[in-house]
């Protein structure tokens, strides 16, 4: 299928003007998941997880606005 046909179909779908057959076709495509496509090792997975989390933190800046309360044992260590 050519790029133009894809584009027209998806444009109609995004704008809510797709024909029922087109809608079904796209939704079927969205429903099919090939789990074997993604193969990542555990260390890679952890790296990706940390990268995405850092990106979320950069966007929202939640560690700055809502810092975590320090655990009680850390507070004791600091006092002594």
């Amino acid at each position: 299928m050519k790029t133009e046909i894809y584009q027209q179909k998806l444009t109609r779908y995004v704008n809510g003007r797709a024909l029922p057959a087109e809608k079904k076709q796209i939704e079927n495509w969205l429903s099919v998941v090939d789990k074997s496509a993604l193969k990542v090792s555990e260390p890679e997975k952890e790296t990706i997880r940390a990268e995405i989390l850092r990106e979320i933190q950069d966007y929202t800046a939640y560690p700055l606005f809502f810092p975590r309360p320090r655990p009680w044992w850390k507070r004791i260590i600091t006092r002594s």
């Binding site: 299928m1 779908y13 090939d34 997880r49 995405i52 989390l53 929202t60």
Partner: protein, 172 residues
């Protein structure tokens, strides 16, 4: 990593009180399935990462507007599908404008794959069962208008009972 076994609804409620621990727990629960789905559909790590991060950014920023009976998993999966479609649409628009050079935008989004994905609403075995349950439609006999017949002859041909019509319609 310390695990939190609270249900999603409890964690979503904790988001309302700006609990960042709850957000990170929800992120740990869902990030990989969302990421793998986006990667399978789009084929690039960059776009998959962007989609997942944006989902959680929107969740955090809209935490005070979440409805009462909010199902986080269905919300996230609906949003990731929407984001995949929008991302693919954006990519196709760029290619149509000549920004990208690839002719085939996405190997999986081909006619062959779409045909594979197409499936009947009712499985074939169910259709067979339905066709067995429904009796065959009786074929109606046409009565030619040109051939002159008595009314009872026509009705006999149509397999109506003479006396039932006599009583109901007073034809005779």
């Amino acid at each position: 990593m310390r695990r939190n076994f609270s249900p999603d609804q409890v964690l979503v409620d904790r988001l309302l009180s700006d609990d960042t621990v709850a957000l990170e727990e929800l992120y740990d629960r869902y990030w990989y399935s969302l990421y793998s789905y986006s990667y399978c559909k789009l084929g690039t790590h960059q776009e998959a990462k962007f989609i997942v991060s944006q989902l959680f950014v929107r969740l955090w920023e809209g935490r005070h507007k979440l409805p009462a009976q909010f199902s986080l998993s269905s919300h996230l999966y609906a949003e990731v599908r929407r984001s995949v479609v929008l991302c693919l649409h954006e990519r196709l628009n760029q290619e149509a404008e000549g920004v990208g050079a690839a002719q085939e935008p996405l190997p999986e989004f081909s006619l062959r794959e779409l045909n594979k994905a197409r499936r009947p609403a009712v499985p074939a075995s169910s259709w067979e069962w339905v066709s067995r349950q429904v009796p065959p439609r009786p074929v109606q006999q046409a009565v030619p208008r040109t051939a002159w017949r008595e009314k009872w002859q026509i009705l006999a041909q149509l397999r109506y009972l003479k006396h039932s019509l006599q009583t109901v319609l007073h034809l005779f």
